[in-house]
């Protein structure tokens, strides 16, 4: 059996519409020559294509009805949605939009850092460190007798 000669419907479509490679096209052409079934199928499909072109192709040459012509405005309509997103002029608005994106990222990073610091403080690590390395004047003042603190 010669599998190179097998032609699926999809391939026959591609052959008819010029969408297969040149090598495959010559194989398909050979298969069609030797198969009355494929010839019949191809003839029927060609007739369909010809009928479709003949029936509808000329519509594009007809004058367009006024109803459709009038539906297209003479000038560009202002687009509400578009203006809302990009207010005065597109380049400036796009710049602002990019700026807004960066600001959101900055806010997110700062929030994450803040959250980390707050967690660390709550856990006591930073407080302990401060206490350990800072026997400050306040601590000294606290250690004094009460009578001396007021002076």
């Amino acid at each position: 059996m010669n599998f190179g000669r097998f032609v699926s419907d999809a391939e026959l479509c591609g052959f008819l519409d010029g969408e297969v490679s040149a090598a495959r096209a010559s194989e398909i052409a050979a298969a069609v020559r030797s198969s009355p079934d494929l010839q019949r199928k191809l003839r029927a499909w060609r007739e369909q294509s010809q009928w479709l072109r003949a029936s509808f192709g000329r519509i594009a040459q007809e004058p367009v009805p006024d109803m459709l012509r009038q539906a297209v405005p003479a000038h560009r309509l202002p687009s509400v949605a578009h203006e809302y997103v990009l207010p005065p002029s597109a380049p400036v608005a796009q710049k602002y939009a990019r700026g807004a994106d960066i600001a959101i990222w900055k806010l997110l990073v700062i929030s994450l850092i803040g959250l980390f610091l707050a967690t660390a403080l709550y856990a006591g690590g930073v407080v302990t460190g401060t206490q350990a390395c800072a026997p400050t004047l306040i601590q000294k003042w606290m250690d004094q007798p009460k009578s001396l603190r007021g002076s």
């Binding site: 969408e19 479709l52 509808f56 459709l68 539906a71 578009h82």
Partner: protein, 154 residues
Amino acid sequence: MPHPDALTRFLPDLRRFAAALTGSPRSRADELVLRALRDVMVKAPEAGDGAGDDQLKRGLRANLAHLAHVQVPRHPAANANAFETALLDLPSTHRAALILICVEDCTYEEAAQTLGVNRAVLIGRLAAARQLMARRLQEEARSDEAPPYLRLVK
């Protein structure tokens, strides 16, 4: 919104595509084109901004195919010939694929993009459409040839 000149330029092609999708009467096709235009101008005004001609045309065709799929009943006109009846008898997705290739002269790639499917799906629909249509026409031809007392009554 797309530039009005571009829309006006595409109107004849859009009418042809819509007429092939809907069959006769032609007024049905023109209504479909009108709806597609309104969709672009009112519902999605930003859709055509900055779009190239090809992209805009593809978008409008896609909209027409969708509208034909959801809104157009598959009733051929009383005076429709066998080809038109067979065409309207196809599933709307298959019909759109066949029309894009045979009437609109799209490549497989363009047609697939318009219908939002991949190339393999498009070819499958196209082959199925051609087969279904051929079978339908064959049945029609047989019923015409048969004597009246054997005619297929639907």
